[in-house]
């Protein structure tokens, strides 16, 4: 690090941004990894930045990593049907079918371009709105978060599939599995573990996600090896350009996705892909009569619109109040605190050097990553034209290794057993059209909704008054969200002529 610090500022910045973008992009490519894992791995190198003057370079490097990883996690979802992170699952619904039709470059370039443009646009707005964030943050409390999660459940049950009952069943099972382990009141009681100590911490999200998506998709890829159409360099370039043009063509959808992503990102603790799914659902909602889930480019643009705009949204409460927008920012915040930044204080907001590094790290990181990824997409999408025997098995090994490594190899056999179990469950769900995205999302969000409901019991319903409780008009967002959720479910149950059946 001393060697880097001896260089000119331009070289330092160029190096950090390039390394951040490359590293983040690389982790983003690994199926089921995502930005959280990219940030966790930074703990192993943080000591290199613990030198006077290098702290700010770390801000630059880390934020470039986050944005690059967010952009890069579209690859796995689009190319092999395994979401890079929970947010990228929405992109996969239409991206993967497009890739199977030989339009991988088209899907990827539109996803990356949309994510990049919205990242830059909302980045500027986000940083400009620093002084007003407190007012926005004050509006969002526990009831609003509960309302939003309910709406997300309803949206995903109805939008991604025509089988609403099956989707609701998948959500119920996802919620039940999320109850396994310590109860959310934090008082040490364990539930539904059948006495198996391994389950005390609950089922690992990574194990569940990989089992549910990776194994069935890789098996399918092996079975359907001849399905992809080979395209030449010229067609690649044409598709890339078409993807970029399609974002411009559907710019209002991209903007709508961006706004949804940014607003949900602003709310503390609303990670888990809520913004991406809400944006995807809104896109389906405004595109009446169109088929989704079979390779509709609008589905990709809608959900990717929320991707990086959500990241800037989540960054704001983290640095302004020290209240992380999501789990990934909690990890990142701890690293910044380690290096001596007073995250969540006015002192930090007055540190113009910090803000400069953050702003430019975010903006340049987004721009550079976007450019590199679009260029890179051409080469990575060639994976589809190679006989899956050559890459599917190594990819599976890489995924299994990343799952086991992420748990520190502490419960090796148990993790392998659960991977196989969820692999089987994922295959059954896929074949019988039980929505896997709905299942995954309910599993991720159930602990949050359960703990929020417990909080609400203590904060608002402690007097036993439910129906006439003042919460319904004092927190109108909750009321509106619940009404919307009920309406959506009824619509899903009654309207039978919908075509989408992604599972």
């Amino acid at each position: 690090m001393e060697l880097i610090l001896q260089q000119s500022v331009w070289i330092q910045w160029a190096l950090m941004l390039t390394l951040g973008c490359l590293y983040g992009g690389l982790i983003g490519l690994i199926p089921s990894a995502g930005p959280s894992k990219a940030v966790i791995l930074l703990y192993s190198i943080i000591a290199f930045f613990d030198v006077a003057g290098a702290e700010y370079l770390f801000v630059l490097f880390s934020i470039a990593t986050v944005v690059s990883c967010s952009i890069g996690d579209s690859f796995a979802g689009v190319l092999i049907g395994i979401p890079g992170g929970s947010g990228a699952a929405a992109t996969m619904v239409d991206g993967f079918p497009l890739a199977k039709k030989g339009k991988a470059s088209y899907a990827l370039s539109s996803a990356i371009f949309c994510s990049t443009i919205n990242g830059l646009f909302f980045g500027v707005i986000g940083f400009a709105l620093f002084p007003f964030y407190k007012e926005i943050g004050d509006v969002i409390g526990t009831p609003e978060i509960v309302g939003l999660i309910f709406t997300s459940f309803a949206l995903i049950s109805v939008v991604t599939t025509k089988h609403t009952m099956r989707s609701l069943t998948a959500i119920s099972v996802g919620c039940f599995l999320a109850t396994i382990g310590y109860a959310p009141d934090g008082m040490g009681a364990v539930r539904n573990t059948l006495g198996w100590e391994y389950l005390e911490d609950g089922i690992s999200l990574l194990v569940l996600g990989v089992g549910l998506f990776a194994l069935p998709e890789l098996i399918q890829v092996l079975k359907e090896k001849t399905e992809c159409v080979y395209i030449d360099k010229k067609t690649h370039n044409e598709q890339t350009w078409q993807g970029i043009v399609s974002v411009w063509k559907h710019k209002w959808l991209a903007l709508m996705g961006g706004i949804i992503g940014w607003i949900t990102g602003l709310m503390p603790s609303t990670g888990g892909g809520i913004g991406d799914w809400a944006a995807y659902s809104a896109t389906v909602g405004v595109s009446r009569g169109e088929k989704f889930g079979d390779g509709n480019i609008k589905g990709i643009i809608g959900s990717e619109g929320a991707n990086n705009s959500g990241k800037i949204g989540g960054l704001l409460p983290t640095i302004m109040f020290g209240i992380p927008g999501n789990k990934m920012y909690a990890y990142l915040m701890a690293l910044w605190v380690y290096l001596g930044f007073d995250v969540g204080t006015t002192v930090l907001l007055e540190d113009t050097k910090f803000i400069d590094h953050l702003f430019w790290g975010y903006m340049l990181g987004t721009g550079i990553s976007g450019f590199l990824m679009i260029w890179f997409a051409r080469h990575v999408s060639k994976i589809l034209y190679i006989n899956p025997l050559y890459w599917a098995i190594p990819v599976m090994v890489l995924i299994v290794w990343s799952v086991l490594a992420s748990n520190g190899y502490i419960s090796l056999w148990e993790d392998i057993f659960m991977l196989i179990l969820f692999g089987l469950l994922g295959t059954i769900m896929k074949n019988y059209k039980f929505s896997r995205p709905a299942f995954l999302m309910s599993f991720i969000l159930f602990p949050r909704i359960e703990s929020s409901l417990i909080q609400m019991q203590g904060l608002y319903f402690y007097n036993g008054v439910y129906i006439t409780n003042s919460i319904w008009w004092e927190h109108p967002i909750l009321t509106v969200c619940i009404l919307l959720s009920v309406s959506l479910i009824l619509y899903g149950l009654l309207k039978k002529d919908r075509s989408m059946d992604y599972a």
Partner: protein, 357 residues
């Protein structure tokens, strides 16, 4: 060119080998998540400690085992790393061990030797305008029970155990379901709850504006454990010591069964909250203790630690164990029984560890 690259690689490998051949890289297990309070303490300490430990040819790397709310880290230390002299542990306190009956697989906090520790204190913040029944948060694996107990004693005053348990239901609203500290800080700042607890660092940041405007005040601080007197005032805010504030309100010093359990728990938190242990007969024990001493003796390192972790007393080696011994001795059958009764009223799944009976 190829030869040049090979030569560079070989010499780099040789240099690395020769400089690391006689050194030990220690794994410092933090029994908690990478972004929690325990981790932050470990990160700040190792950041400074490594500078002095390298003179002994060693380095420390942090490893986080958050499973089973930190219990897994302690069990791993006691089992997998039983004979490994290069593994250090920062346990997640001792109260969890006291109040949980099974699954420790040989982990016993009294079995190990201590490198060092910091006696820590916690502050309780309160809104200056309170409703009739103020609300506070309960969560974090039962860690906040001790704070709620102190609030109950302060609100209810001198009472018998059965009376104060009834008063607890009437004078304080307990809100459950909190996972991260960020959530509860936001809930406090938006007045959803009116009483909260936090460490010294947050007085200067999270509550700074509210303290300045008079919306919030430091209600009391638990104080820190002392080798002789039990608990003494927090050096960062002596006038807010629990006993002083209580005396001012109720005109007598706190006492009784409920208070005794509160005081014991607070002592355990202060003494065992942040400390580092290794297995007995560790061959590197002296290197670790001496380098830690050097770190604390260094003005620059100490200034940074004071700023980041608060001006709290440090204990090294035997002096830590003396404090720990005193705290262990404060437990008896009656107090353990009362501890179980009281903690269960906070809905905790408390089962006193049979090793203590």
């Amino acid at each position: 060119m190829k030869r040049l690259i090979m030569a560079v690689l070989i010499s780099a490998s040789l240099t690395t080998f020769t400089t690391t051949a006689h050194s030990e890289n220690f794994n410092y297990i933090v029994a908690g998540s990478v972004s929690g309070g325990h981790a932050k303490w470990a990160q700040q300490v190792t950041k400074q400690w490594n500078k002095f430990l390298k003179n002994y040819g060693h380095t420390i790397s942090l490893r986080y085992i958050k499973q089973q709310r930190g219990k897994r880290g302690m069990v791993e230390f006691a089992t997998t790393y039983k004979d490994n002299p290069t593994v250090l542990l920062q346990p997640k306190g001792a109260i969890k061990w006291i109040t949980t009956s099974g699954g420790w697989k040989g982990y016993d906090p009294k079995k190990y030797i201590t490198i060092a520790g910091q006696l820590e204190g916690t502050f309780v913040f309160v809104k200056t305008e309170l409703p009739d029944i103020p609300a506070t948060h309960i969560g974090g694996g039962g860690e906040t029970i001790v704070d709620a107990m102190a609030m109950v004693i302060m609100l209810c005053g001198p009472m018998e155990l059965s009376e104060i348990l009834q008063c607890q239901k009437e004078k304080l609203r307990l809100v459950y379901g909190w996972k991260g500290s960020g959530q509860r800080r936001k809930a406090y700042l938006s007045n959803d709850i009116q009483i909260t607890r936090d460490g010294f660092a947050h007085m200067r940041k999270t509550y700074k504006d509210e303290l300045k405007s008079g919306k919030t005040k430091v209600w009391f601080s638990h104080g820190i454990v002392d080798g002789k007197l039990g608990m003494i005032a927090d050096p960062n805010s002596p006038h807010t010591f629990f006993d002083k504030v209580y005396y001012k309100k109720w005109n007598k010093l706190p006492s009784g069964d409920y208070f005794n359990v509160y005081r014991q728990t607070a002592m355990f938190r202060s003494a065992f909250g942040k400390h580092i242990i290794v297995h007995a007969n560790n061959p590197h024990y002296l290197d670790l203790v001496n380098s830690f001493k050097e770190m604390l003796g260094d003005k620059g390192a100490r200034k940074i630690l004071d700023k980041k972790l608060g001006v709290y007393p440090w204990t090294i080696g035997k002096s830590t164990e003396e404090v720990h011994d005193r705290v262990w001795k404060s437990l008896d059958k009656k107090s353990l029984k009362n501890m179980e009764i009281i903690r269960r009223t906070f809905k905790e799944n408390t089962n006193i560890n049979p090793k203590l009976n």
